[in-house]
């Protein structure tokens, strides 16, 4: 087991183009510093987000997955975020069933002007993930990857 202090969480964030992605841009423009743990994947709407992307990321050993959606009522596509909320309402329970800490999955509402909120949320989430510890899938994912690599070489 690694000590929590030298463990840096690995977070994948699926961000809606119109809110969280722009909000994160705004955080960048304002030089708001945050832990270097977040990779952002751009989607046009949180409604495009499928559970399998989150599962794939967690399966690969990501310590946290975030969906960044508009506030309810603010969706660029009228109601895509509401559909995403409904689609992911039981996702935490689902990953818990699979033996994963439900906090590894987060659904945030961050508007395009809330770079500061986004930064704060990330700081809090990182410290929480440090308490939870690394995703136990990491080793398995590494082994699987090596196997795949060897198979390709042969």
């Amino acid at each position: 087991m690694v000590k929590n202090s030298d463990f840096e969480p690995y977070i994948v964030c699926f961000a809606c183009n119109w809110c969280t992605y722009t909000g994160s841009d705004q955080a960048g423009v304002s030089r708001m510093q945050r832990p270097a743990d977040v990779r952002i994947i751009r989607l046009m709407c949180s409604g495009r987000m499928e559970p399998r992307y989150a599962i794939e990321a967690l399966k690969n050993g990501a310590d946290g997955v975030i969906i960044g959606a508009c506030h309810l009522g603010d969706c660029h596509y009228l109601e895509g975020n509401e559909k995403a909320v409904r689609r992911f309402s039981v996702f935490n329970k689902f990953i818990e069933e699979y033996g994963m800490n439900p906090k590894r999955f987060q659904f945030w509402h961050i508007s395009a002007s809330e770079g500061a909120e986004f930064t704060e949320h990330i700081k809090e989430y990182v410290s929480e993930l440090k308490k939870i510890g690394p995703n136990s899938r990491k080793k398995i994912a590494a082994k699987e990857f090596k196997k795949l690599e060897e198979a390709l070489i042969q």
């Binding site: 955080a27 030089r31 989607l43 409604g47 990857f145």
Partner: protein
Amino acid sequence: MSLEKPKPRVAVYICHCGKNIADVIDMDEITEYAKHIPNVALAKNYKFMCSNAGQDLIAEDLRSGKIDRVVVAACSPLMHEETYRRVLRENNFNEFFFEQANIREHASWVNLRDHKGAMEIAKDHVKMAVAKVSNDRPLIRQKVKVTQEALIVGAGITGMFAALDLANKYKVHLVERTPTIGGHMAQLDKTFPTMDCSACITTPKMVEVGRHPNIDLLTYSEIENVDLNVGNFDVQVRKKSRKINHLICTGCGACGEVCPITVPNEFDYNMGYRRAAYVPFPQAIPAQYTIDIDSCIECKLCVDACDVNAIDFNQEDEIIDLKVGSIIIATGNDIFDPSKLYRYGYQKYKNVLIAIEMERLLSSTGPTLGKVIRPSDHKTPRRIAFLQCVGSRDFHEDTHKYCSRVCCMYAMKQARQYKEKYPDSEVFIFYIDIRAFGKGYEEFYEIAAREYGINFIRGRIGDVFEKNDGSLIVRGNDSLLAEKYEIEVDMLILSTAIEARKDADVVGRFFGVQCSEDGMFMEAHPKLKPVDSLSMGVFIAGTCQAPRDIPDSVAQAKAAASSADNFMASGEVEIEPYYSMVQPEICSGCRSCIQLCPYDAISFDEITNTADINAIKCKGCGVCVASCPSNAIIQNHFTRNQILSEVRALKPWENYIIKN
């Protein structure tokens, strides 16, 4: 010939962005790293990829035939995606064989001190972009016809100027919530720094707007609903009932004369009175009367008084359907309510006013016809004080952090006007900093201090107390002399902040326009797209976007008008081909996507038993794609394969395993 798909040959260009990225991320290391990502044919770095030379670098490589897809690791794609796509287009490549990895906003700028961490993120973002671009498919932008009509919301000085500019070419629908056009500017007496009379420059423009054959003026109207079809917005406007037939009303004013109801006049900021049947001010456009049904007691005296029988109490609200090609939002601002700041005593002490009330007192068309009186005893005040930055430059709750930009100037202007009227009076201005930023503004300040003898005292006041005779005692600390002062004045004027309209978020939602942190509408880019919103074909101008003065508002109005013209002029608009498509051979015909589509873009083909998506109606949110149980729907440019390849490109275990 081999039937196998040719392997993508990706070129990765890494931008230094001057020092913005290169200071944090080691350019050689990341370029070397990029060279070893699968599918990458070449990787280079350059100081400014967006510059001409940088673009030429890409063009040269494209023409050499070594590469067929491009990744640029630089700023946010929201900033320069279009720039690089054009390079591909100009070199006869499909512009959608391009991805931008955001290593500035999302890596270097948010990790200025953690160089190693920023490098890890940058590597991952480049890796993801390469994975995505490898799965990109050629796409063609769709063209949509644009309606040659425009909608402008708000008929203040900004809305009027935008309307006048556009109306030379297009039909313009100008919607205004109040019974008259003119906005805040019509309420002003004089304007800084030229001290020309506000009415003399506004009212002729109002008349021009009212008479223009191409401007369809919809006053006393509000937006009811908007369907955001780019280039062909369907807008519903509710024209509120005025209980007076405007086609017949001559504006003679007989109804107002007999009306027994007196209510405070909003136009005079409740300093004066009006009847329930009224025009807000004599120069209002349209000049016809309106019956304020909320205060009307329906005595119907006006019905008898009206010679032309224009009054119709059965008149109902009317819903007007418009189809427009572009929209300009110019809804303006509200004024900060200082009663929240108890220490200044607004609405507690009678002689504490806000600047717009003082403006109406100074105005020759105002309730006192230009005579300044204090509300408590109707005497002319001899010593007055202005307090600056009320509600702005204040980091408390309920107040605004931003500078409202105009308050320094209007306070000096009012002080000068007051001094002109009453030369033997004394005027104090309590300020933090005087911000006289515009053309001729500093000179205006100079004259106010030197020739008019206005006393400028630095520092916000601490407390205000009322004496028995209604005079006020102002206490504070002069931050230049480091001395406490206690000054007795007859009247205190609070220079209140400009703030976003209370319902800005509601209006923004109609048009798909986001609000910034300060509640005002957000521009697409703070420097390069100051009048564009993130919603295509919707533009923002004036004080609804940020506090600004009249010249700036007019400049923005003209910029927005020209942008809207630019948008409509070609008659067509290209929209991103991110629409979704059903693969009929996989579709099981379950119809679950049909109810989910917010745009009714999906129909069901009874013969083939499959769903079908109308590419023009589809806006590309991808809700149907994500919810299709048979994975039969693909979203262009965001296919399942592409997103999965991005996720799979990441190796969250890598560093962890090396460490342990």
